[in-house]
């Protein structure tokens, strides 16, 4: 059975499965849903399930912890990015936020801090005036000395205005007091503006530190948590989460919520102010058009003319009352959701953007609010703001949409799509050069792409744009390489990561999606270039690489059936002799196929010792190309084998390993000329030992993908002999012995995949069946057959046993070992088994079950798995599972951590033996 492949999406597998040789081949699963990851909990559990090992679990946990931390930290960074950084004030803003919280948490003594925060608002004025010119950096500098900064603060205040004087005494109140302003703020804005910056600086400093240092530290995590982060990151709110109150908070817990909001708003506004004169705002505020302002904010509004100072006064007044009284003060409250949404339509731009920012904040990790926003028809308004000419407005709207689109509630995503949000996002992507906005857009698209029905919509509207605007430029690939310029390396930017994640999701949407992506001008070329650049730089563990490999894997699925002109390459022999190679090839192979012993020798040094082999390979001529292949043709050129092998050798990211193995699996499936070449090339490039070694991986899914790839590769007769001789032990060692699982505790799917691979390699090869017996597999197979709780495993094991028993020349040996026919007879064993295990028993009945399992390859499952994988990813075992780098001197040569001496040695001519100092 040609291993055909089955797929992620297609339930159809089942059919082929029934036969038992389900070639599970191709898995295109990779849907990464970012959203799902959202819940940390799930990660944890996932992890556990993923790998049985304790170690892992622990790791996971650690990650979790980290994550949390990250979030806190993250915000800050985001803040800077997300906020109006360009203008400089934004960083402050974000800092402020985090600061507040911290203080809140830590304690009360710190009033100072709060003050600072509160001050911030006011300080705006300062910044406005004095600090105006300051760049964010300068501020940072200051921040560092918190306490010192303090002094500054006062100074600033002093300089600011007279109002300053009052504050010191009031500081304690400030935290609360300023809240009111802010809440109102939306309308009142101007006050806030006044407050912006400097004072804050000191405060911020602590926060700042966090941001700075931590983000880097945590970066490594991206894998598991990414998704969260994605959404989180952008949202400055994350920290809020941490706060106990937050959840309940929105309105009730005014303190928490307000603060957050407050800070933000001011921050955002700050920058804006600079951008455009605010004066108009005041005038407009008064404007009656906005009902809210009118009614609720009247008090503040009344004073606009006074200017910033006026606000100070007010504040002072308000602040004096105790916190409690403030809270009770009916005049000051947060706008409720309908009001916020109404503010999105406010004529004053800053109000719009603040409202959007506030929405983003409210929606962060709060599904209820997201739903409410949707039901209050807030989404179309936000989408409408995407086309707003002012960057502040569309940026904030984008941020809100990003958060709203994140999460399991697909209705939110659909709502965005229903008001043409996807084309609007794409339009904005084309238009804007602001990196932060691009990150938000692509993050939103990534979120949207996790929902099946939206995938095609995204492809229709955004594929070419994402490719042209992000993938190609960031990949370093150039359409018309300039001869003078060196090839550029890929840049692993957030935008690229988001976009590749989005494409990764949409690439799993079936044949049509694959066709569109394959034919998208420049996409495959750029992805390949990016991966090659990653391989060249040995930078293969990051999320972007993972996404790219997953896309490539998905696009490689069914290439032999789906690519234009594929029929020209179909192997005519396939029909008559499925499972065998094409006629020409077969002949050649046979010539070079010396049976077991010789084959073994070839295993690793093919073509070296035996000139004959060399010739064989060489005569297997690849189709002549008149011009370099491009576009989707690149997917299945034998050259890609080297790339995937180098990923398999070097990457520590399980998802990447799985995807690279999956790509080889897909490419080696099917009966067409190219898959013949691919299978031969894997052998020639010494890929088989690399794959075999990965059978020892701790990662379930890696083992599974590798096992299935080996199965497809063994369609090639010579590969089958080699794999039979050299992979059998590793395959068998992954099998559970009876009910006792091996240390790895592989999932049922994996065990079944391994059994099927074994079945494939012992079929038509008594030599391989003999190796199987020598590997002491019979005992395990019989045990699985009799005692496994899994009908699929039982079934698969019994198929292998039947095949083994069918070799009459082996029966003697088997009998000597104490086995008899009954051990190999499914029917016989099945009956008792059924009673024994209380399982529904006969083979006939189990068949359908097998089919079901195929679903494992379906997209949906895949997705789940994906999530798990994410969680489990990389970091874990550098030491344990180092992928072997196989021999080529070149690799060693490149490896950096070796002592110089070995480098010298390795430099020698290629054939020279490798020699490593240790």
């Amino acid at each position: 059975m040609p291993a055909e492949v089955k797929q992620e999406q297609s339930p159809s597998n089942a059919t082929s499965l029934a036969m038992m040789q389900e070639p599970q081949e191709v898995v295109e699963e990779t849907v990464t849903i970012e959203e799902d990851p959202g819940t940390p909990t799930s990660h944890v559990s996932v992890v556990t399930s993923d790998d049985g090992t304790t170690r892992r679990t622990e790791t996971k946990v650690t990650k979790m912890v980290k994550t949390v931390t990250t979030r806190t930290v993250r915000q800050v960074p985001l803040g800077p990015d997300g906020l109006p950084l360009p203008e400089g004030s934004s960083p402050l803003g974000s800092y402020t936020d985090s600061i507040d919280r911290r203080y809140m948490k830590n304690g009360n003594d710190r009033f100072i801090t709060p003050q600072a925060t509160s001050t911030l608002t006011r300080s705006y004025n300062n910044s406005y005036n004095d600090s105006y010119g300051e760049t964010p950096e300068s501020q940072y500098v200051r921040h560092y000395g918190l306490h010192d900064g303090y002094a500054d603060l006062t100074d600033n205040y002093g300089s600011l205005s007279r109002g300053v004087n009052f504050r010191p005494p009031r500081y304690p109140y400030l935290p609360n007091s300023y809240r009111p302003e802010n809440s109102y703020t939306l309308p009142i804005r101007k006050d806030d503006y006044g407050h912006v910056a400097q004072p804050q600086v000191p405060m911020g400093s602590s926060t700042v530190d966090l941001n700075r240092s931590q983000p880097e530290r945590f970066q490594p995590e991206p894998y598991g948590l990414e998704d969260d982060r994605r959404s989180l990151g952008p949202e400055e709110e994350e920290p809020y989460e941490l706060e106990p109150d937050y959840s309940t908070a929105n309105r009730r817990t005014l303190p928490g919520a307000n603060r957050g909001r407050t800070h933000r708003e001011p921050l955002r506004d700050g920058p804006r102010i600079r951008g455009y004169p605010d004066d108009p705002i005041e005038a407009e505020l008064i404007d009656e058009r906005h009902p809210y302002i009118h009614g609720m904010y009247s008090a503040p509004l009344a004073q606009p003319e006074r200017g910033s100072m006026a606000s100070l006064d007010r504040m002072g007044g308000r602040r004096s009352p105790s916190i409690d009284s403030i809270r009770k003060d009916p005049r000051w409250r947060d706008p409720d959701l309908p009001e916020v949404i109404a503010m999105l339509g406010h004529p004053i731009d800053p109000v719009k953007s603040n409202a959007a920012a506030y929405l983003q904040h409210l929606c962060y990790e709060n599904d209820k609010i997201k739903k409410d926003v949707r039901q209050l028809k807030g989404i179309p308004v936000l989408v409408g703001l995407l086309d707003h000419p002012k960057s502040e407005v569309h940026r904030k709207a984008c941020g809100a949409l990003r958060n709203i689109s994140y999460g399991k509630d697909n209705d939110n995503k659909v709502a965005i799509k229903n008001c043409d949000g996807i084309p609007a996002l794409v339009r904005l992507l084309r238009k804007t050069n602001d990196m932060e906005v691009r990150e938000l857009i692509t993050g939103t698209l990534w979120n949207l792409s996790s929902y099946e029905p939206l995938k095609m919509v995204i492809i229709n509207h955004g594929l070419q744009t994402m490719t042209n605007e992000v993938i190609i430029p960031h990949s370093g690939w150039e359409h018309e390489p300039n001869e003078d310029s060196k090839p550029r390396d890929a840049e692993w930017t957030t935008v690229f990561k988001n976009t590749s994640g989005c494409l990764r999701n949409v690439s799993s949407d079936g044949a049509e999606a694959r066709r569109r992506l394959r034919e998208c001008d420049g996409l495959v070329d750029a992805l390949l270039h990016a991966l090659q650049s990653a391989a060249g730089k040995k930078d293969m563990d990051n999320k972007s690489v993972e996404n790219c490999v997953c896309i490539m894997r998905n696009l490689s699925y069914h290439v032999h059936k789906e690519v234009p002109g594929a029929e020209k390459f179909q192997d005519p022999s396939a029909l008559q002799a499925p499972g065998s190679v094409g006629p020409q090839r077969k002949k050649k192979d046979d010539a070079g196929c010396f049976g077991g012993k010789k084959a073994k020798e070839e295993w690793f040094n093919q073509g070296r010792k035996n000139g004959e082999n060399d010739k064989n390979y060489d005569t297997l001529d690849l189709p002549k190309r008149t011009e370099p292949s491009k576009g989707f043709e690149l997917l299945y050129q034998p050259e890609v084998v080297r790339l995937y092998l180098s990923l398999l050798t070097e990457s520590q990211n399980y998802n990447t390993l799985e995807a690279a193995a999956g790509a080889l699996q897909n490419l080696s499936a099917g009966q067409w000329t190219w898959s013949n070449y691919i299978r031969a090339t894997v052998r020639k490039e010494k890929g088989l030992p690399i794959l075999v070694e990965l059978l020892r991986s701790d990662s379930d899914k890696v083992v599974r993908a590798v096992a299935i790839a080996l199965r497809n590769l063994s369609i090639d007769r010579r590969n089958k002999d080699l794999i039979g001789s050299y992979a059998m032990r590793d395959l068998v060692s992954n099998l559970p012995s009876g009910q006792q699982r091996p240390a790895k505790n592989l999932e049922e799917d994996t065990v079944v995949a391994i059994l099927n691979t074994i079945h494939e390699i012992v079929t038509d090869s008594s030599e391989n069946a003999r190796s199987l017996i020598q590997a002491q597999a019979i005992e395990k197979l019989v045990a699985i057959n009799r005692t496994s709780q899994s009908a699929r495993e039982t079934k698969a094991a019994s198929h292998v046993l039947q095949t083994v028993w069918s070799y009459k020349d082996l029966r003697n040996a088997l009998t000597k070992d104490g086995w008899n026919k009954s051990h190999f007879q499914p029917t016989v064993t099945a009956t008792p088994k059924a009673t024994k295990n209380g399982k529904p028993g006969y083979d006939d009945t189990t068949l359908p079950l097998m089919e079901k399992n195929q679903d494992g390859y379906s997209t949906i499952d895949q997705r789940d798995k994906d999530c798990k994988y994410k969680a489990s990813d990389v970091s874990v075992d550098l030491t344990e599972r180092e992928p072997l780098k196989n021999d080529t001197n070149r690799k060693h040569y490149i490896r950096s951590n070796r002592p110089a001496v070995s480098l010298v040695d390795a430099c020698d001519v290629k054939p020279q033996p490798v020699d490593s100092w240790v």
Binding site: R608, L884, D915, S916, W917
Partner: protein, 128 residues
């Protein structure tokens, strides 16, 4: 000393314990290895059987930790801290030897002179 994969191997072995030497951030053993199942065994100058894909000691840093411990050029490494080294890739062997968290490696090695010594003392050692 050659062997057939899957068949038991008999060999005279010596245990060698090497204390790694710290040099900056690196822990060094002071020898180099060649061979591995992914290498061309025909080029191994030390193996008797040119199909042997085992891991061999190719060079020793004079006075280095390995030298001090008694490792010799041409030794075939059978095990490293209990891990089999007769059927591993070159890189796997390297990594087993260079684990950062292990200060000591215990090797099981075999060498021709050992076998001969035994053979003589026993009056003919049965070759595996």
């Amino acid at each position: 000393m050659s062997f057939v994969p899957g068949q038991p191997v008999t060999a005279v072995v010596q245990r060698i314990e090497i204390q790694k030497l710290r040099q900056g951030n690196n822990l060094i053993l002071g020898f180099s290895i060649g061979g591995g199942i992914d290498q061309d065994p025909g080029q191994n100058p030390f193996s008797e059987d040119k199909t042997d894909k085992g891991i061999y000691v190719t060079r020793i840093t004079p006075g280095g930790p390995a030298d001090v411990a008694g490792l010799m050029m041409g030794d075939k490494i059978m095990q490293v801290n209990g891990w089999d080294m007769t059927m591993v890739t070159h890189d796997k062997a390297r990594k087993r030897l260079t684990k950062k968290n292990e200060d000591v490696v215990r090797l099981l090695v075999t060498r021709k002179s050992l076998e001969e010594a035994v053979k003589q003392s026993m009056g003919g050692f049965p070759r595996p």
